[in-house]
């Protein structure tokens, strides 16, 4: 039975339970709603919940567990001798799955009957040709153990799914029955539903937290793995970044300092552009602009925030870079070798951050109470005096928080750097030199055809971990400041 059908059936059973429980409680109470503990809808929801939730839970668990079991059984069937030829057991298992998919395909297109597909004694070469005729993708002629395993794989899977369907439907029916039977006028259905909703919310929250935890753990383990292959001190204090891709041999220099410097330098340039412009724009919009200008200008600024960063990257590469070269390049001042430079990426990243800074600051400035401005005007202060001496100091912690959030975005930005700043890791003070950042290097370390177990690839995790710690620190600091600021007017 296809999964979708199973799912719909469970829902249908739950809907039936809802209707039945609701009718039952109304009948039991003799249509007198006031004698019920809860509204009729709660009795229905209770029954529906009890039938659908355990059944769907079962479905999910089964779908998660079955592949493990099948893989394990099939893997045991493959003799070690079959593995010698290909490099690893995993590759053989992948071959088995492909063969099984091929058999499925052949059966569904009519190239093979179900019996033929299950025939243990089938001729290998015949099977191979028929599978490729059906359009299945096979690397080579399948071997006898692989074919056996593939056949077993199919059998296990289909019986597994059958048992699952029956179990799930049974559970749904049992749950429905349970829910309907406990439906009595004095049953506290409302409280039960309340707890169900609570459990749902807790589940959603835990999924979010657990995924984050999972990501962090995978970062941590791979980072530890990297430090086993490459000394941590050289990673953190090395001033040279020169990975040699494995296969070509030679030792790599994997010092993070040039990358951190590039990240830091580009972010600083970006913030120098974004903070004053964004902040002044916010002040203008919230304090000076009339309602008409504001209604027009705010959405315009926010359009900037909606542009994908790759477009900014193109802008950097094709417009800003050449423009800068014309002024600072060999024909002009002679400081710049090529269009890709810290300056190019920093300027464009700054433009990207303007709406970020301005809309956050605008919210914060608007949160300063009007009575504070009144107090200042009432003492004979001008508008700019009021802004400088009352509004901005009051909003300062929040603005600092906004700037820190912008900084952590700048640090994490990748596309603009890849296209605008070049790929050379370098420790230099000249903002017209090409440099690169941590994020850009993570991309380039993982997009080659390197072995994922080599230090050259694993370093990406160490880089990611470092980046994560830095931005997390910045975010926590920013949130702390923003919170502190919130308490101020209370």
């Amino acid at each position: 039975m296809p999964l979708l059908w199973l799912f719909l059936l469970v829902l249908a059973i739950a809907a039936g339970a809802f209707v039945l429980a609701r009718t039952r409680v109304l009948t039991l109470s003799g249509q007198d709603r006031r004698s019920l503990h809860s509204l009729p809808i709660y009795y229905g929801s209770n029954a529906a919940m009890k039938s659908a939730v355990p059944a769907l839970l079962m479905l999910v668990l089964w779908l998660l567990a079955q592949p493990f079991y099948v893989n394990k059984t099939v893997s045991d069937m493959i003799p070690d001798s079959a593995i010698v030829e290909s490099s690893s057991r995993n590759l053989v298992l992948a071959e088995v799955r492909r063969a099984a998919d091929g058999l499925d395909l052949a059966v569904s297109t009519g190239g093979m009957t179900e019996d033929e597909a299950r025939n243990m004694q089938a001729d290998i070469s015949d099977v191979t040709t028929r599978l490729s005729d059906a359009g299945a993708i096979l690397t080579s002629e399948i071997t006898r153990p692989v074919l056996r395993a593939a056949q077993q794989f199919r059998v296990l899977n289909s019986t597994g799914y059958n048992i699952m369907s029956v179990m799930v439907l049974l559970i749904a029916a049992a749950g429905a029955l349970w829910g309907i039977r406990e439906t009595k006028p004095d049953f506290r259905a409302r409280n039960v539903v309340e707890q169900g909703i609570r459990a749902l919310l807790i589940a959603a929250a835990s999924i979010a937290i657990l995924t984050t935890l999972g990501i962090v753990l995978s970062l941590v383990f791979n980072t530890i793995e990297f430090f086993r292959l490459y000394p941590a001190s050289e990673f953190f204090f090395g001033t040279n970044w020169a990975p040699s891709f494995s296969g070509r041999g030679g030792a790599s220099d994997l010092g993070i300092l040039p990358l951190l410097w590039g990240t830091f330098y580009i972010s600083i340039v970006a913030l120098i552009v974004a903070v004053p412009i964004g902040l002044f724009a916010a002040i203008y919009l919230s304090e000076y602009a009339g309602p008409k200008v504001r209604a027009f200008a705010k959405p315009m600024l926010e359009v900037l925030a909606g542009i994908p960063t790759i477009v900014y990257g193109l802008f950097a590469l094709l417009t800003v870079g050449p423009l800068l070269v014309r002024v600072f390049g060999d024909d002009g001042l002679g400081w710049m070798q090529a269009g890709t430079a810290v300056m190019t990426a920093g300027l464009v990243m700054g433009i990207m951050l303007i709406p970020f800074v301005s809309s956050l600051s605008d919210d914060i400035i608007n949160a300063v109470p009007q009575s504070m401005r009144d107090g200042s005007y009432g003492l004979g202060a001008t508008q700019s005096e009021t802004i400088r001496q009352v509004v901005l100091p009051a909003a300062l912690p929040g603005i600092v928080g906004a700037i820190l959030l912008a900084a952590s975005r700048a640090i994490g930005e990748t596309m603009i750097v890849v296209l605008g700043a070049g790929a050379a890791a370098r420790l230099s003070l000249n903002p017209f030199d090409a440099m690169t950042t941590v994020t850009a290097k993570i991309v380039s370390q993982l997009t080659g055809d390197s072995d994922f177990a080599s230090p050259e690839a694993l370093v990406a995790f160490a880089l990611g971990m470092t980046l994560f710690v830095i931005t997390l620190g910045l975010n926590v600091f920013a949130l702390y400041i923003v919170r502190k600021y919130r308490e101020q007017y209370e």
Partner: protein, 265 residues
């Protein structure tokens, strides 16, 4: 009915400081002040009384053009201070507000230190030549605000950390520090205990020697105690404006009588 201190009876030589004629105020479509004409004397305390929402604060805010900061607010009619129309195009509202100080209904200390709160106005207007002078101004203002003793040891503490009543007195001191010619006080004692109230009333009486003071209050006793003139507002209209002693002993309008005896409002 109310004991009226002796000074309200003395007829000081006074001239007109503020003259309002046919003032109308609209908040969008809401006609909040209707046809109000009033003459506020110099060296006099004028009390505005009336039920909540009748437009006392609104009219007070017209006198130093604070209503300019409200987008939807529109003021019509003439308001003259010392004979000059304050709504004239050539008048700079910023300078006007330095001359006509205001204490707001809700205490609104700046999120700065107590010292900086008081020093704010004097600094903007360059009233002190050096730190010592500024210190003097701050101390004098805090003493007049009847809060010096409570805060003299923590002038650098934030003004927002004071209690509601202390904040109110801080705002009074802040307004006094710029030495305005007219002081508008919107319920300056609403959060004060009797002792602090008495001190503020003393201050108001002292200010009267040099300035015109307008005070909005919900306390009939206070109006009777501190003011020489009283204006009774009702639903945006100025119902009656006369000597305080007259209003509280022998009001002309029946609405005034009902209000001061507690039957409306």
């Amino acid at each position: 009915m109310y004991d009226i201190p002796h000074h309200t009876q003395e007829t000081a030589v006074t001239d007109v400081k503020i003259k309002a004629k046919d003032v109308q105020v609209y908040y969008g479509d809401n006609h909040a002040i209707k046809d109000v004409s009033v003459e506020i004397d110099n060296n006099t305390v004028t009390a505005f009384i009336g039920p909540s929402g009748c437009g006392k604060s609104t009219f007070l805010r017209c006198l130093n053009r604070m209503n300019d900061t409200i987008d939807i607010c529109r003021v019509e009619g003439d308001i003259l201070i010392d004979g000059d129309d304050i709504y004239d195009k050539r008048v700079d509202p910023v300078q006007l507000r330095a001359k006509v100080g205001m204490v707001f209904q809700k205490p609104n200390p700046f999120p700065k230190s107590i010292y900086d709160n008081i020093a704010y106005g004097p600094r903007i207007h360059g009233m002190a030549r050096n730190k010592a002078e500024l210190d003097d101004i701050v101390e004098r203002a805090l003493r007049r605000g009847a809060i010096w003793d409570e805060v003299k040891d923590r002038l650098q503490a934030p003004g927002t950390g004071l209690s509601g009543g202390q904040q109110q007195r801080l705002c009074i001191a802040r307004a006094v520090a710029t030495e305005p010619e007219v002081l508008l006080m919107d319920e300056p004692c609403s959060a004060l205990d009797p002792i602090a109230t008495a001190q503020v009333e003393e201050l108001i009486d002292e200010l009267r020697q040099n300035y015109a003071v307008v005070i909005v209050t919900h306390s009939m006793q206070q109006a009777a105690r501190v003011s020489q003139k009283t204006a009774f507002f009702h639903l945006g209209n100025l119902v009656e404006y006369d000597d305080t002693s007259k209003i509280f002993t022998n009001p002309e309008d029946s609405r005034t009588e009902s209000y001061i005896t507690g039957r409306i409002g």
